[in-house]
């Protein structure tokens, strides 16, 4: 496998190319079989490579770019970090491909959908398996493109088309920073492979490391939906739900966390940049969780939840605990995609996304309910479920490394998380039914992937120590030992706050049936998402628009159009003027001819003399 692991991304690429070229002639059935199996092959390859992996595998296929002293090979890297990402990505992607067969069954864009989904899987695997920054950037842009295509999948809806555009444009801002970071790193190191940068990081000044790390982090805030560039992710929920589960919950949005973990020595060398990562992460976590408290659209709640959980991951990596951050990424991929798939199952059954029109679905969709409950317990941090271990790991590391404030905010956020996710459950599955007539349980092809994810939502959390040990060959993983008493106290606190969150949700939404929940302007502020979209509109979008209008009025019509029209008018008027010479009188023509010949002769003779 050592020689062949680089094939992992190319199976889905094959599928994508095949569906795009032959989409019109092949049958739907073939697509349903081929698309998931190609991703399945990738998963099997990843699994075998994972089992055989010792040390770091680097496979250089050919020299990709060679200009002057810039030399970038087309190289893949398989090490503990990328192996975990490859496994998570291909595994979750496979399950979601299977789920999509049921979810998208009646959609007119079925084949196009699977072409995009395969293309996404390829780009994401390219991103995680690349051995240098430019290749990672190709994957990075590839997933951005697929995200755009899939958010706007139902492009006949205006909201979907606009959401796609928004995601793409906001990501451009981030990617610009990312690109500048790559340029800076090239000028500093002269080599862009991860192994070189990570091993020579001591050779540059911490200030330069800070600049490069922060520029790259700008890209991460765009791709991973962190403050201040998170605004595209809630709108991205316009896409099909499996897409939200795969791209906007489990894989693509965690690319930023992966990137920071990959270049951790650079961030660590800077120090300041690492703190920025931690603080942006934890503030985003709190910020997004508060918005999620009051949203009524089932997918938007989950979207803000995703932003919040990725914030946790950044906080984990930022306090120096790469293993904890990556562990949360790993477990989160399962329970968050399960939450999305279960929500998709609800939407599939009820036909609406508004939780105020659901209620009482527990009896109609029992399988979905149980899956949802498992994922909810996992994200809330109830002991025994995956999220408990990973979130606890981050909070513990934050506490032990002396980031007491980050720990505190993290704990508060954990309580909010438990509240909003159980608010969602109580509004959707409990109480009496509101606004739906007949719902149905989803087909087996959707339920099986959900059950598998549910299984992993529980067990994937049981291995925190071996997970960290597995990552240790990276060379920058510390395993901190806490005294048992401290650890127990920390656990008790986070469990208590999770249970408190669930209890409050139960009290408000089951006991009091959602009444008496009104905090006036705070509620309004949260419901309006802190009016950040409006703020962006005010300070960026509308000045931009106004400026464009001004330029349109003065430069476009004033300068460009005038130039074009002017050249036409010049020709017309010139023609009019010259046409006066055409008198129509034979003599005048003769006169001009004579004048011409005499002039010609004059010069001819003068040159002879």
């Amino acid at each position: 496998m050592r020689e062949l692991f680089w094939l992992i991304p190319f199976f889905p690429a094959l599928g994508a190319a095949f569906f795009i070229i032959f989409g019109r002639v092949i049958s739907k059935k073939l697509v349903s079989w081929l698309a998931p199996s190609l991703v399945g092959i990738s998963f099997v390859f990843s699994l075998i490579s994972f089992l055989q992996l010792k040390g770091v595998w680097i496979k250089e296929l050919f020299s990709w770019i060679k200009i002057g002293n810039l030399s970038i090979p087309f190289a893949f890297q398989f090490d503990p970090l990328s192996s975990i990402m490859a496994l998570t990505v291909s595994g979750v992607s496979f399950l979601i491909h299977v789920y999509s067969i049921g979810y998208m069954a009646d959609d007119w864009g079925y084949k196009r959908y699977f072409a995009y989904l395969n293309l996404f899987t390829f780009s994401m695997l390219l991103l995680v398996l690349s051995a240098n920054l430019p290749m990672m950037f190709v994957g990075w842009e590839g997933v951005g493109l697929c995200s755009y295509l899939l958010i706007g999948f139902w492009f006949e809806k205006d909201t979907a088309a606009n959401a796609g555009k928004k995601a793409f444009i906001v990501n451009r801002v981030g990617d610009f920073g990312f690109l500048l970071g790559i340029f800076l790193l090239f000028s500093l190191f002269g080599d862009l492979s991860f192994s070189f940068i990570n091993s020579h990081v001591e050779g540059i000044s911490p200030e330069m490391a800070t600049a490069a790390a922060l520029l790259l982090f700008v890209g991460a805030t765009g791709k991973s939906a962190q403050l201040p560039l998170y605004i595209w992710l809630p709108d991205a929920m316009e896409g099909p739900t499996p897409v939200s589960a795969l791209i906007h919950a489990a894989t693509m949005v965690t690319a930023g966390v992966y990137m920071v973990s990959r270049l951790f020595p650079l961030y660590h060398h800077s120090g300041f940049a690492l703190n920025v990562v931690a603080w942006i992460g934890i503030i985003t976590a709190l910020f997004a969780a508060t918005i999620a408290l009051v949203q009524n659209d089932i997918k938007r709640v989950l979207a803000y939840s995703t932003i919040s959980q990725i914030g946790y991951m950044f906080a984990g990596v930022g306090v120096g605990a790469v293993a904890a951050g990556m562990f949360h990424l790993f477990t989160h991929a399962f329970f968050k995609s399960l939450l999305f798939l279960a929500a998709g199952s609800v939407i599939h059954g009820v036909g609406t996304q508004d939780m105020r029109e659901m209620g009482g679905l527990r009896r109609v969709m029992p399988a979905t309910f149980w899956n949802f409950l498992i994922a909810a317990l996992a994200i809330s941090g109830i002991p025994g479920f995956a999220g408990f271990f990973s979130k606890d790991e981050i909070l513990k590391e934050a506490f032990l490394s002396g980031h007491k404030w980050i720990w505190l905010i993290g704990v508060v956020t954990a309580g909010l998380t438990a509240f909003y996710i159980f608010r969602l459950i109580f509004m959707t599955f409990y109480g009496e039914k509101r606004g739906w007539d007949h719902a149905h349980e989803s087909p087996v092809v959707m339920l099986i992937p959900m059950s598998i994810l549910a299984f992993f939502s529980i067990v994937s959390g049981w291995i925190p120590t071996s997970f960290a040990k597995y990552l240790q060959p990276l060379g920058y993983i510390e395993i901190k030992e806490a005294s048992h008493s401290t650890e127990i106290v920390l656990i008790l606190i986070s469990v208590a706050i999770a249970v408190l969150g669930i209890f409050v949700a139960w009290f408000v939404y089951v006991k009091r049936k959602g009444k008496g929940w009104n905090f006036g302007f705070i509620y309004k502020l949260l419901y309006g998402k802190y009016y950040v979209d409006e703020l962006y509109n005010l300070i960026i979008v509308s000045p931009y628009r106004k400026g464009s209008e001004l330029i349109n009025r003065y430069f476009d019509t004033g300068v460009i159009d005038r130039t074009v029209e002017g050249s036409g008018e010049l020709a017309m008027n010139g023609g009019k003027l010259l046409s006066r010479l055409q008198t129509g009188l034979l003599k005048d023509y003769g006169l001009w001819m004579t004048v011409g010949i005499i002039t010609g002769l004059f010069f001819a003779i003068r040159s002879l003399l």
């Binding site: 055409q582 008198t583 129509g584 034979l586 003599k587 003769g590």
Partner: protein, 99 residues
Amino acid sequence: MSTFSLLLLSALLFAGGIAGFFVRRDLITMLLSAEIMLAGANLALLVFSTIKKSIEAEAAVLVILTVAAAEVAVALAAIAVVARKKGEATEKTVSELKG
């Protein structure tokens, strides 16, 4: 006759042609003037060909005469048509090309 007087005759013919072309108004006389200019040019060519002792210029003169004959036939026909349509054939009657 000496070469000089022949060349002088050719120049006089040419100048007369030009003068006639610009002074007269009826198309037939203008055409005649143009033919006189041609004759002057032909004469000059012949003189030079005898000086140079070469046959090419004489051949050219024969070609020019042939073409001129054809051209006169066409031009006269055109003038006849103009005269029939408009009642007279002066340069004023055919000034439709005025810009």
